[in-house]
Amino acid sequence: MPAIECRGLRKTYDGKVEAVRGLDLEIQPGECFGLLGPNGAGKTTTIEILEGLLAPTAGQVTLLGRTWQKHARDLRELLGISLQETRFSEKLSVRETLDLFASFYRHPRAAAEIMQELELTEKADSWVGKLSGGQKQRLAVATALVGNPQILFLDEPTTGLDPQSRRQLWEIVRGFQRRGGTVLLTTHYMDEAERLCDRIAIVDHGQIIAQGTPAQLIARLGGHHVVEFATSAGDGANNQELWRMLPGVDSVHEDDGMLLLNVREPHQTIPALLAAVENQGAQLVHLTTRQASLEDVFVHLTGRHLRED
């Protein structure tokens, strides 16, 4: 039985805006699954439908074999949820906030235990208003964990956090997973998805455009390496077919004046590339090579970057 399953999920706002357009997911118990996509792709709408906070316009949701229509209260006991943005009461302490949330569940975990796990113990008696961004985010996850859930939903848990706070949160998510929990998170950070998630669905315009493990998705690019260059001729874009014919090149695209080649064997491609540039009577003004990332997958699939800011 999948932990999270949805079929044909649709959400239309005001009869016009289609935020989610036919989305299917199947997430197994113990899995950490990531919804990856740019802002406005429909990630939050999707996760809030799964969390039972929004009603879908069409489609079915089943969590741990239960549905929102029939088992709402049971499901609430089994889920831990961290919303994209919650500002908890500023004049309650961390301990008081956790005790409050614990009181809503039948079998909560002890607040002290959660605080220790999330390194909030020394802030136990501090008012929430005095916490740093990272601490507030950990408190948000703590309120999700205090009910001893089987599934953890995290909507952009690390947005706006410094690198250290992000790693701390990743470790918390892994800890929950180690104990057998299922995680569904949304993110627009590539590295987060690559490092944390067992499987990823790339969401764009309310649909899943690719799904698989990070390695599988990168493999779909064909090449695992990216060669990025620019020539003094500056007309690279006009001869994409020329670069495509170079040995070892799987695909070519242009991005911000640079040409990006997805290649399998850089050591074959690069000498041929240098020769081709020389043949044109031009010179290289830029050349780098790197491992392909999910960002490249996204650009490859949509022609756009994940974060266009």
């Binding site: 919650t86 569940y105 975990r109 002890a110 235990e113 470790e171 180690r178 104990r179």
Partner: protein
């Protein structure tokens, strides 16, 4: 199962020195039916206690208001009317008549020259100028725009006429009535209590709810197994607790500082207060049921409260308004609350005599509550 990925050495190192997490909670707890309600109420009371503004507006401000207005409108002995008599023939006669009049104790007369008298009158030192005429008559100089001048005109004329031998055509008598219970402060304190119950419910429930909605805290609560009814009940209960404190504080203040006499039993006063607090809790809930921004709910709250501040007899009796609008004024929940509080506190009226007023509050509260629940927006 997923494990720490070898591509992340930092996280791996971190994971290594982390203590192993228990598979099951070390101390499984079982929460009872009312755990959520109790914690919500406790959290709300803590928040209120930690908000200095709340303490000031809810507890200190009404006391300051009562103190200020109680002193400003305290019952003073009747003012002495200062009059100037212009010197000349007949002036002495005027003074003698005033001295002989039954009102002589309330009149202070000075004999001055014409110029001095007029100057004193202009700067407000005298309320009236008596100008004796050659034919033995008196002419009064007064200002119809100055209340004390108008009063002095009547008073002096009455004094002179009586002293000169006028007989009253009708026998009348006046009785002094400034007992505790009929003074302005006695009128004011129940009114302040009623107003405070309204303010506290509108801000403490209406405003607080919209703030929580704006913070997405309502949505976060909704994502837990919390019972919605417990949440609303806790919010309402917190207002009842405050109301109890407020009744004790304002009545105690009235009794200690202004020697106010409380005739009704504390139980019936608290019962009237509770009905009022519940009624306004419903209205506060309705005001806040849709608003998403605190700016918009502030406007709504003021819109609801303003007519009642004016019409419901907080600071002065609504009897001053035209008879046509009296039924509407009496249908307002704050009017019903203020009237019921005054009747109970000042007259010791039994609750059975308050049925109509309690019904008005119950109807307002009940209808508001039902509509609020139907329209309420949690997310």
């Amino acid at each position: 199962m997923h494990t720490v990925k070898p591509t992340d050495p930092e996280a791996q190192a971190k994971g290594a020195d982390m203590q192993p997490m228990p598979l099951r909670p070390s101390r499984p707890r079982l929460n009872g039916r009312w755990a959520g309600y109790t914690h919500l109420l406790l959290a709300r009371m803590r928040e209120l206690k930690r908000e200095p503004e709340v303490i000031f507006w809810v507890f200190v401000f009404p006391l300051l208001l009562a103190l200020g207005l109680g002193i400003a409108f305290r019952n003073k002995p009747a003012d002495v009317a200062p009059v100037a008599v212009v010197s000349g023939p007949g002036a002495q006669h005027a003074l003698e008549l005033l001295q002989a009049s039954p009102q002589h104790a309330a009149i202070h007369a000075d004999m001055l020259t014409d110029a001095q008298a007029l100057k004193g009158f202009r700067v407000g030192k005298y309320a009236l100028v008596i100008e004796p005429k050659a034919d033995g008559s008196f002419q009064y100089r007064y200002d119809p725009a100055r209340p004390e001048s108008v009063l002095a005109l009547d008073q002096i004329d009455d004094a002179l006429q009586t002293a000169a031998g006028r007989r009253n055509a009708l026998t009348t008598a006046a009785k002094i009535s400034s007992e505790p219970g009929a003074r302005y402060i006695d009128f004011l304190i129940p009114g302040l209590l009623g107003m405070n119950v309204m303010n506290a419910a509108m801000w403490g429930i209406g405003f607080a709810l919209v703030e929580m909605r704006q913070r997405k805290l309502l949505k976060r609560y909704l994502a837990t197994p919390m019972r919605r009814s417990d949440f609303l009940l806790a919010l309402t209960s917190s207002r009842l607790v405050l109301m109890l404190v407020e009744v004790g504080l304002l009545l105690g203040f009235g009794v200690l500082v202004f020697h106010m006499r409380v005739l009704g039993s504390l139980a019936s006063i608290l019962l009237v207060g509770t009905v009022g607090a519940l009624s306004f809790a419903g209205i506060g809930l309705l005001t806040a049921c849709r608003a998403e921004k605190i700016e918009s709910v502030s406007g709504l709250i003021n819109l609801v409260m303003l007519p009642m501040w004016v019409f419901s007899g907080v600071f002065f009796s609504y009897e001053r308004f035209p008879a046509v609008v009296q039924p509407f004024i009496k249908a307002l929940p704050l009017t019903a609350l203020n009237d019921a509080l005054r009747a109970t506190i000042l007259e010791g009226a039994p609750l059975t005599a308050q049925g109509g007023r309690i019904l008005i509050m119950a109807i307002w509260g009940g209808i508001s509550f039902i509509l609020a629940l139907r329209w309420f927006r949690w997310v």
